[in-house]
């Protein structure tokens, strides 16, 4: 599974992140949020304003960008512009769904395990994450795709989405669990947790009321970056015969279908990659702004 791990995310044993006093990177944060919003709004609004069917064959194949078709047409003559922004809705929805479930489950599992005093719980969970991480993700996706079937559907999502999401859910919680566990181990030493224990609060209460509120900002920061990695992972799946299948517009499959025409019709893949990069840049600016300011690790 693609994951971006920075020092701020993983606490290497013994390597405790030092909280530095740095000015919040306000400009970067604003620019980042602005870029993300621009792409999201474009994906929401453009398909409403321009009601062209993204699968309609509107013009000759491989036409360069023009006033009528700002991103040109693809190899069968569909409008790339409308396809890219229709695809954006799906990709953003997938990224959100694909991140949210592992984020919640992983954070809770990691915190509970981290807070647990039983060694066995910790060992078993950590070995389980090892197993999941060691299992070749490519095989897992392919197998899940064929097992749950290419025509099993999650309502509102196209065929293929279910299998991708399930595969991601199975694998990705492990990273969140590891991050949450590491963070909990640090927090356990802190006074307010010791105090809670001395007061005789139950384990469940300590986890829910005291640990989780301090753990989730760490995993949430990671989740933002993870969403981006997820988009480019989903984009790579058509290459393996899995993922969201054409003709459903999806950034990955648009780029994949256009891959044979990079010299002849650069606009198919590169306009799509361009939109993805704008979104990616926005996400990274937000993450950088959050990471370099650990006192305010909340999402804007």
């Amino acid at each position: 599974m693609s994951t971006e791990i920075t020092t701020a995310d993983i606490n290497v044993p013994g390597h405790v992140a030092v909280r530095r006093q740095i000015q919040p990177r306000r400009i970067e944060l604003h620019v980042g949020v602005g870029l993300i919003l621009a792409v999201v709004v474009a994906c929401l609004v453009i398909p409403i304003l321009d009601r062209t069917d993204p699968n309609a064959l509107v013009a000759l194949p491989l036409q360069p960008p023009s006033a009528e078709h700002p991103f040109g047409t693809d190899m069968v003559g569909r409008d790339v512009f409308i396809r890219v922004f229709t695809a954006g809705r799906l990709d953003i929805a997938l990224a959100a769904l694909g991140v949210l479930v592992p984020f919640i489950s992983g954070t809770v599992i990691g915190t509970v395990v981290g807070a647990s005093r039983r060694r066995l719980v910790d060992t078993v969970t950590m070995r389980l994450t090892d197993c999941v991480i060691a299992f070749p993700f490519v095989i897992l996706v392919l197998v899940i795709v064929v097992i749950i079937g290419a025509d099993t559907r999650i309502p509102l999502l196209p065929p293929g989405a279910a299998s991708v999401l399930v595969a991601v859910w199975i694998v990705n919680w492990t990273t969140y669990a590891r991050l949450a566990r590491a963070r909990t181990h640090v927090l356990r030493q802190e006074d307010f947790i010791s105090a809670a224990r001395l007061l005789g609060f139950s384990q469940a209460r300590i986890v829910a009321r005291h640990l989780l509120p301090s753990v989730w900002p760490t995993t949430a920061t990671y989740a933002v970056a993870d969403a981006l990695v997820l988009v480019s992972l989903i984009a790579a799946l058509p290459f393996l015969g899995a993922g969201i299948q054409p003709p459903t517009p999806e950034w990955g499959s648009i780029m994949y279908e256009g891959r044979g025409f990079l010299l002849q019709a650069w606009w198919i893949s590169f306009t799509t990659a361009g939109v993805l990069l704008v979104l990616g840049t926005g996400v990274m600016l937000v993450v950088d702004a959050l990471v370099s300011n650990p006192r305010r690790p909340r999402l804007p």
Binding site: M1, S2, T3, E4, I5, T6, T7, A8, I10, V12, P13, G14, H15, A17, V18, R20, R127, D130, C131, I133, A134, F135, P136, F137, V138, I139, L140, L142, V143, V146, I147, L228, V229, V231, S232, L233, A235, A236, F239, L240, G241, G252, M255, Y256, R259, L262, L263, S269, A273, L276, L277, L279, G280, T281, V283, M284, L285, D288, V291, S292
Partner: protein, 315 residues
């Protein structure tokens, strides 16, 4: 002492993970729809012939029995024989591919370190300047680009337009492979390199903020020396963990890059085995990949313990 204990614990873990993956792949692979016999014989073969081949391959037995048999073989160190490459051992079929992928990954990791570590350090030193911003944007762009796009851009522009590398392929023996390996390795570097650069930058910034750096500076230690003796070693530590964490991703990424550059590694073996439903080969590849990932993680753990005295203390 700790190294010995960790090695032992991890060795045990390799066995457990190996078992899990073996049982897991066996189970999953046998559940996959699609008939290996039909895949071998084509859509035109008659049903009787398909049935006969299923019998010959042992596919007409209950799934539980098939799994038990393949596990039994594995205990004796036998990965089984291929369905398609009849009579050939799985181990002998995937061995060369493993070597190719390992070579590709090694070059990619080396390249990423060569590019990422100095790059990240430099970004930390010029922090909060335009260069820092541009540098970080650059890493972002590379990270957001799907791996196959990066590979294809390199293939079309570096290889075809500029003619700087062969447009894919593989020589088969080592000094000659250098001609072929660098472009696919560079494609993998577009992912790992920026990641290392970002990590090194962050770690270096953390180190620069530490009291011992301030102390050194106060003592009048030259800047060059502070960077080399205090900042760099601290910035390198998380890189070890990072590379270990990404071993699995490199293998997955290698599938795509190998396809684009037609490199005969494990990735192409896996795709081939998937398309022909060569179940024993699929299992073999899954197992080999999983074990190498675990071994790689073990290596990075040991390396961490060896270079970072603080870990030894906390254990």
């Amino acid at each position: 002492m700790l190294v010995v204990r960790t090695t032992f614990a991890r060795a045990l873990q390799i066995v457990i993970v190996g078992l899990f993956v073996t049982v897991g792949t066996n189970l999953l692979v046998r559940l996959v729809p699609g008939d290996p016999a039909r895949a071998i014989l084509g859509e035109k073969a008659s049903p009787e012939v398909v049935r006969a081949l299923r019998h010959e391959l042992g596919l007409d037995q209950p799934v539980i029995q098939q799994i038990a048999r393949s596990l039994g073989r594995l205990v004796q160190g036998d990965l089984g024989t291929s369905f398609g490459y009849r009579g050939q051992e799985v181990a002998s079929l995937i061995g060369p591919g493993l070597g190719v992928t390992a070579g590709l990954a090694a070059v990619a990791i080396a390249l990423s370190l060569v590019v990422g570590v100095p790059g990240g350090l430099w970004l930390a030193l010029v922090r909060r300047t335009e260069a820092d911003l541009i540098g970080r944007l650059g890493t972002t762009v590379l990270l957001a680009l799907p791996s196959f796009m990066a590979a294809l851009i390199l293939l079309y522009f570096v290889s075809l337009k500029l003619g700087l590398a062969p447009a894919g392929g593989w020589a088969g023996s080592w000094p000659e492979n250098a001609r072929y390996v660098w472009l696919p390795a560079l494609a993998l570097t577009t992912y790992l390199g920026p990641l290392i650069a970002r990590t090194v930058r962050q770690a270096a910034l953390d180190a620069i903020g530490q009291p011992f750096v301030e102390a050194a500076r106060a003592r009048g230690v030259p800047r060059r020396r502070i960077v080399a003796c205090h900042v760099l070693p601290n910035a390198l530590l998380p890189v070890i963990t990072l590379v270990g964490f990404n071993a699995g991703i490199l293998v997955s990424g290698a599938v795509i890059v190998e396809t684009v550059f037609a490199v005969p590694g494990l990735g192409s073996r896996l795709l081939q085995a998937m398309s022909t439903r060569d179940l024993p080969v699929m299992q073999g590849i899954a197992l080999v990949t999983a074990v190498s990932i675990v071994l790689f993680n073990l290596l990075t753990d040991l390396l961490n313990i060896a270079v970072d005295p603080r870990i030894r203390r906390t254990h």
